[in-house]
Subunit: 180 residues, 2 copies
Amino acid sequence: MERRRRTEGRILDAARALFAEVGFERATIRAIAKAAEVDPALVMQYFGSKQELFQQAVRVTPVAGPDMGAEELVEQVLGALNLKMGELPQSTLAMMRSMLTHPEAAASARQTLSRQIDRLAESIPGEDARLRAALITTIMLGVTIGHQLLDLDELREVPQDEIARVLRPGLRALTGPDVS
Amino acid sequence: MERRRRTEGRILDAARALFAEVGFERATIRAIAKAAEVDPALVMQYFGSKQELFQQAVRVTPVAGPDMGAEELVEQVLGALNLKMGELPQSTLAMMRSMLTHPEAAASARQTLSRQIDRLAESIPGEDARLRAALITTIMLGVTIGHQLLDLDELREVPQDEIARVLRPGLRALTGPDVS
DNA sequence: GTCTATAGGAAGATAGAC
DNA sequence: GTCTATCTTCCTATAGAC
């Protein structure tokens, strides 16, 4: 019982890492099992199918965030770039890596992004709050993809706080209603 | 000879459409051949391998663009969002769809984005021009992914010129050196 | 030149031995 | 509970008939 939980944990860690690295299709059960040092059949035994394993692996506890002022908002979003310390959670990277080519991951991504947009929109004044929130969200998505998934040199070379500094005014312009 | 060229064209069109819709892995030679109304073996005969077919299909003539002032720059970038008329070229969408999960497409995307960054950087004053150019490029990447590949409702519902209007001040803040 | 048939391989999933 | 062996399916790629 205890042993099983630890084994499941190892499998999920290995799955997250592989899904994040190569996406759903190319991450094989066999490779995941090997990385977790278990038998491939055990993975099926525990999770039923590759699809269910993926769902378990990318399941994210949606970070609850109360509404806040526009300036804190920008800082929170910039912090979430998580160029900050270390990396984004593997589960998030796994979902992002697969979201353009795996229908299930796409649905999951849409849901997560929509939640994020809703959350941001609450803190943005003006009638086009949802559009602004959507643009802020997709902007962070694009920067994150460029930095974490495509490894663009132009972004990797630069320290995180400089990226945040350059990006800040642009995001400010999107949070305020007084700039149209 | 003439007939072959037309057949190749049909295959390439079908390939672009399918690669753009489902990505490299899920777009099978069989399905492409069926869409182009040819025999699957003919596709192999003409292009040698699926990989070579993909390369031919996403090959883009890099739009030559001379350097320009900062304001025109923003307008050109916004226009390229191509929320404008119709859609982005299928070849571009095909590359974007596959770039996170297919190594070859990733390399191609990095190259295209780097060229774009170089082009933009030439028109941006200040010493952090390349960083600013990279952020502008990834911002447009993110918005395009959200709009064209993830079909986010929050962006699809909105007319293109309103997106451009809301996005403009933020991009302006990135082109000018006077906002750090 | 075009298509039929099939080789050859890899994947997910399953049944049953240990 | 865990692993071995296999089934089934789907793919790319090739060889050869028409």
